[in-house]
């Protein structure tokens, strides 16, 4: 049918190898590999009827749910590009994404139905209702069309779609599995949104290895997480540090026995050494894998459990077949141990940002004949290739598993009545997002947060708002975010 490799080939192959095995459990429902493959083919035919042709985009804007997964693969099987968005996307951000991607259709569910109006006259599929099914017509895949786009905050705050290609995703998924090594009998607990690549790639890993996914929702990663892990017999937990901090807290407060949990992976933000040691103390049978990555190449490095002792604080070595090095400002490689912005090369680099050639050229540069991703992260690589991160080269904030631009939050704050200027920084010590504003009027911090919650996604709403008579400024009169850090204490 399709000659080149595409990601749905993995589903087809899994259906052949493990037809009756459960692939995904979600709520009360489950689907086998074979049943999923059949449904995906029929849905792909349905999407073709709806007008999805090779290279066309399908927006999927739902909670983590089975239909979202099946339509994700169906869109790719029809040769299209899937765009999986966070269900809490705000109307303004969504409008920008719709303008950029010009989708053929969109998939919504109850949780996102209120956003339907943003799509104007485009066809909308409601995930809870009957979906279009039809016989799949042969597809000539466009090898240059991305498999899917993952939207991330650009440095200016405009959402940017990272273009992931089928072959690149295959390469990085195989390189990741060479380290994490999921097994056929694994039950992987997904509590991260599928709009976040760490959640999304679990689909590929499970297809490659024939293991079962429990598709949960982020809200379940609170007090009941331990109990779900126990009843579902979860063996692998992909996480972000905030989720693990919650799990640690709950286990101390009300422990649940989790003898089957054998691997915990962490990415998205810095995993504190204290959290690593507490996890090992609470779950002695589980391996902890600190990792480092960014959507622009998905995964950079993974630290193996037997490397934890000798390389505390490291996020591991670069994936096999890829390279990571510290660079000076113009991209010259610096010797081991020297700090600089981290540059990344390898077949896992994404094709760039969707319809944003300038930003693409800034982040993906050709240096001495090699395409290098400028990560924006500062750090060094030791003489054995272990990576140590030390902060961001720009002011991008990583918070609750999201990457966000302070500019976006500051701009939003400045639209509020009475706010003359704003500066946003993260208090890493306490894991709090802090907004400083200046205002001649008497404003209440609580009211500012409430108003911001209407225009920003929940994770981007500051935890702390402080009002100052004036903000510290740099020589050219911009808000001095570095100086604001002094106010955090």
């Amino acid at each position: 049918m399709i000659s080149a490799f595409t990601l749905p080939c993995w589903l087809q192959e899994a259906a052949r190898r493990w037809p009756d095995r459960c692939w995904i459990r979600s709520g009360e429902r489950e689907v086998t590999f074979e049943a999923a493959w059949k449904q995906v083919q029929a849905l792909a035919g349905g999407l073709q009827e709806l007008g999805l042709t090779p290279g066309g985009r399908l927006i999927i804007l739902t909670e983590n749910r089975l239909e979202g997964v099946l339509l994700f693969f169906a869109a790719m099987l029809a040769g299209g590009t899937a765009v999986v968005l966070h269900p809490q996307t705000k109307p303004e951000g969504l409008r920008r994404i719709i303008d950029q991607t010009e989708p053929v259709a969109a998939v919504l569910d109850q949780s996102t139905a209120s956003l339907a109006a943003e799509f104007g006259k485009l066809p909308i599929l409601m995930a809870e209702q009957s979906l279009p099914l039809s016989e799949l017509r042969p597809v000539d895949a466009l090898p240059e069309a991305p498999a899917f786009l993952v939207f991330t905050s650009g440095s200016t705050g405009t959402p940017r779609g990272v273009m992931l290609m089928h072959e690149g995703v295959r390469f990085v998924s195989e390189a990741i599995q060479a380290r994490l090594d999921y097994r056929e009998d694994d039950h992987v607990g997904v509590f991260l949104p599928l709009s976040f690549d760490v959640g999304l790639y679990q689909l590929f890993f499970s297809l490659m290895r024939g293991c079962t996914l429990f598709l949960g929702r982020p809200e379940q990663a609170g007090p009941e997480l331990g109990r779900i892990l126990a009843t579902e017999g979860i063996t692998v937990l992909p996480a972000v540090p905030t989720l693990l901090a919650g799990l640690i807290k709950m286990q101390r407060f009300r422990p649940v026995s989790l003898p089957r949990l054998r691997a915990i992976t962490s990415t998205g933000d810095h995993l504190a050494q204290s959290h690593i040691s507490q996890l090992r103390d609470l779950f002695p049978q589980a391996s902890v894998f600190p990792m480092y990555g960014l959507t622009e190449c998905k995964r950079v490095s993974i630290l193996l459990p037997d490397e934890l002792e000798n390389k505390p604080g490291s996020v591991g070595r670069a994936l096999d077949g890829t390279e990571v090095f510290a660079m000076d400002e113009i991209g010259n490689r610096m010797p081991p141990g020297t700090k600089g912005e981290l540059g990344i090369t390898g077949p896992h680099l994404a094709a760039g940002y969707w319809r944003a050639p300038e930003e693409t050229a800034k982040r993906y540069r050709i240096i001495q004949g090699k395409r290098v991703l400028f990560s924006g992260d500062f750090g060094h690589v030791d003489d054995e290739g272990f990576i140590f991160l030390s902060g961001r080269a720009d002011f991008v904030i990583k918070h609750r598993g999201f990457r966000m631009s302070p500019a976006e939050i500051e701009e939003a704050a400045c639209t509020l009545a009475g706010v003359t200027d704003a500066g946003c920084v993260k208090d890493d010590q306490r894991d709090l997002l802090c907004l400083f504003i200046s205002s001649p009027a008497t404003l209440e911090p609580q009211a500012i947060r409430q108003e911001l919650s209407r225009i920003l996604e929940p994770a981007k709403v500051p935890d702390v708002v402080r009002i100052l008579t004036d903000l510290p400024r740099t020589a050219n009169q911009k808000v001095d975010r570095k100086a604001l850090r002094a106010f955090l204490a």
């Binding site: 929702r217 982020p218 809200e219 379940q220 990663a221 609170g222 007090p223 009941e224 997480l225 109990r227 905030t242 989720l243 901090a245 919650g246 807290k249 709950m250 407060f253 009300r254 609750r400 209440e444 609580q446 009211a447 947060r449 409430q450 919650s453 929940p458 994770a459 709403v461 935890d463």
Partner: protein, 82 residues
């Protein structure tokens, strides 16, 4: 006693609802997630309820549904304390 529990719960909830206006009463029928309660804050909420109101919420009641609204939560607390 009934009103005490409700008032006590509202006092515990208020500082955790990041998106609630400064002088608004805690809307007990609204979705707590929409009022800014995230999964981490839900863990703190559970701990504060148990220590502050002197109840122990049974494991099987610790669900997303229980923490969906203040009213739901109050109902579960009442059951647990009776």
């Amino acid at each position: 006693m009934t009103n005490d529990l409700s008032t006590g719960l509202q006092d515990i909830l208020r500082p955790k609802l990041r998106f609630l206006g400064p002088h608004e009463p805690v809307p007990m029928d609204r979705n707590l997630g929409e009022l800014g309660l995230d999964s981490m804050a839900t863990i703190d909420l559970l701990m504060d309820i148990e220590s502050g109101l002197g109840v122990s919420i049974p494991d099987e009641m610790i669900t997303v549904d229980t923490f969906s609204t203040g009213d739901h939560l109050l109902e579960v607390i009442r059951k647990a304390s009776s």
